[in-house]
Symmetry: C2
Subunit: 377 residues, 2 copies
């Protein structure tokens, strides 16, 4: 597919993902493209029966079952139970769009985690919001009260973060929630990569509900399971959030497919039944494969030693990430450059690039071999 | 499910559809909820194989095949062939959101068909566009040049229209396109209900391309086939449209599910192979059923005698549509009131309500019986 933007430096990350969609070795996008496990294949084998089931049950019931299975496997027990507080969207980006369109009616400026995937700042600014970068180190351990000026109406964080894998720990989430309550800020979290890291499986909703702050959480089933992008983004909010989320939602959709709800339930139950361990194992092995193949190549290091998410950030010396993107693309291998993740300071991202790990082992192995060859020369 | 807005008069149509989603007799929303035909059931029976196929083919190829099958069965031969001119979205409303967000960067005011389904004006105004109503009679045969003031940057029409079923004829589309070219307006069409009416199967793209005007068309697979809302909205545009559609698209999605693309292809091929006639027959029989059951009830008439779309507008005397909605809801029967379709003049819509026809015959029969009982009393 043609790349819409002129160069790798002008394109946004999704445009670069699109350029690599059908590539021989696509380790660009963060979608789940590993092979189905045996348990998952059994679910797919029963799609006709699941279709019949989905067509015959009330949507409210399918929704409750999907939400329960999904939240429980990731430890999110104290989530809101009112249907209008858990809105099922086509994707996490559609949930993000609904949040942004709701937020801009009440808020001028958002303090947004830096770096993070660029469609988050693009959606927020696209509807007219102003952004202030909130550095990952500051979010992790700095003086939040000082870092967030009074003009800010919402704090937005991705946890685990994409691309760094950094998790907001429970104690820090509590501090952040308390600050948001004290200053009447909306606390917004994108937890799309939570499934990959058990350190992010503490009950976020217990913390958020206890704080009584106004909050929104975007959950995502789309990064985890190779369901060919049949997925749901969940837009979860506190009872006191004070944003017209339900109204904007109703402008965009009546609901997601009942079949997708049934699939989410079944894949979540499979995850609870051993599938999640298999997934963690798969990602861990792909991460090791990548790191081991590149051992002894001085031009590249792995800055996120502790990351468990399904993407890996690499730091390079003597190359920019954009250059690596270009050279790999000429070999029909697609990664993402780091530049665009640093939405407030592109130059700082130039020494990074990102490799997706939710792939068959052979795909990651092929990408690692090509990288080794290029970076060793 | 709880109705988010306070009353039937304050709610938007989608909120009212949500209230009726799991009702005993739901003839509210316009989604396809009839039973699968035998040919369609055979496609569903093969979902596991289609999943495998979708996982193993390049997305660009699946997309081309889905688009070709869909456009061809509805006579749209001269559509654009560049991939970035036919964007596959999660739904027609998501395509609409992308159009609105792109349009607002270039245009202040949109002349929008009146009446039409209210999420179109809500999405347009939701991103900051101003609206001017363009009456259906004026669009059909009035002085367009006079009706569209110089402040307008885009003309938006739904054809066939929802809820009236009115089709923009070929000659009139040509006049409209010529006017848009002469005044450098963007011509936007929503053709989501085209599939139901062969009078809307003339090649719109032949007209639009010949005119050389800047155009956008929103196509929809979601109203036709009972695929449990596994569907695609297509955002089609002229090469000269001059709007950042691809960029805004990339903020919201990388692409739709490959499995849905394969399903669209198969359902479209089934339609070409006799399925479309079956569908037209099914809707025609449901329309007759509704009209015949209400024959001799003086409180109700059918203003859109010639309509072939999958929704039917009813006009009532002695009742408002909102009152009928209330009385029916108490009996667990859900329709849509007419008020909200008349987005620029709610009062004018009060004498109407809408009944969905893409349902099993028994559902329409049950709704018709209840209506007869209420309106005869």
């Amino acid at each position: 597919m043609k790349l819409a933007a002129t160069t790798v430096r002008d394109a946004n990350l999704t445009q670069l993902e699109l350029a690599g969609l059908d590539a021989e070795v696509n380790v660009a996008d963060g979608h789940a493209r590993q092979e189905l496990s045996a348990g998952q294949q059994r679910i797919i084998d029963h799609l006709p029966e699941l279709f019949t089931r989905a067509a015959s049950r009330p949507v409210a019931e399918l929704q409750r079952a999907a939400h329960a299975a999904f939240f429980e496997v990731f430890g999110q027990h104290d989530r809101p139970r009112q249907p209008d507080q858990v809105l099922s969207c086509y994707s996490s980006s559609v949930a993000m769009e609904i949040l942004a369109r709701s937020l801009v009616r009440e808020v001028d400026t958002v303090a947004l985690l830096h770096p993070t995937f660029d469609n988050i700042p693009d959606i927020l600014t696209g509807v007219g919001l102003r952004l202030l970068p909130l550095e990952e180190d500051v979010l992790g351990g700095g003086d939040l009260d000082r870092a967030i000026p009074p003009t800010v109406g919402c704090v937005f964080a991705t946890t685990p973060n994409n691309p760094t894998g950094r998790v907001l720990p429970q104690r820090r989430l509590r501090e952040l929630a308390d600050l948001c309550l004290a200053r009447d800020l909306v606390l917004a979290l994108d937890t799309s990569f939570r499934g990959f890291d058990v350190r992010a499986h503490y009950d976020h909703y217990a913390v958020l509900e206890a704080s009584r702050c106004r909050y929104v959480v975007i959950e995502d089933t789309g990064k985890l399971w190779p369901t060919l992008d049949l997925k749901v983004g969940l837009l979860v909010s506190s009872g006191n959030v004070g944003l017209p989320l339900g109204l904007v939602y109703s402008d965009l959709l009546l609901g997601v497919s009942p079949l997708i709800l049934v699939m989410v339930e079944r894949f979540a139950l499979d995850a609870a039944n051993g599938g999640l361990d298999e997934l963690h194992d798969h990602i861990r092995r792909n991460r090791e494969l990548l790191r081991e193949t590149l051992t002894g190549v001085p031009a590249v290091t792995f800055p996120d030693a502790d990351s468990r998410v399904s993407v890996e950030r690499l730091e390079c010396q003597g190359w920019t990430g954009s250059e690596i993107w270009e050279v790999l693309r000429a070999r029909n291998v697609h990664v993402l450059p780091g530049r665009q993740f640093y939405w407030a300071d592109h130059a700082r991202g130039e020494r990074f690039f990102r490799v997706a790990l939710a792939r068959p082992h052979r795909t990651v192995a092929a990408a690692a071999r090509e990288l080794r060859q290029i970076l060793s020369s």
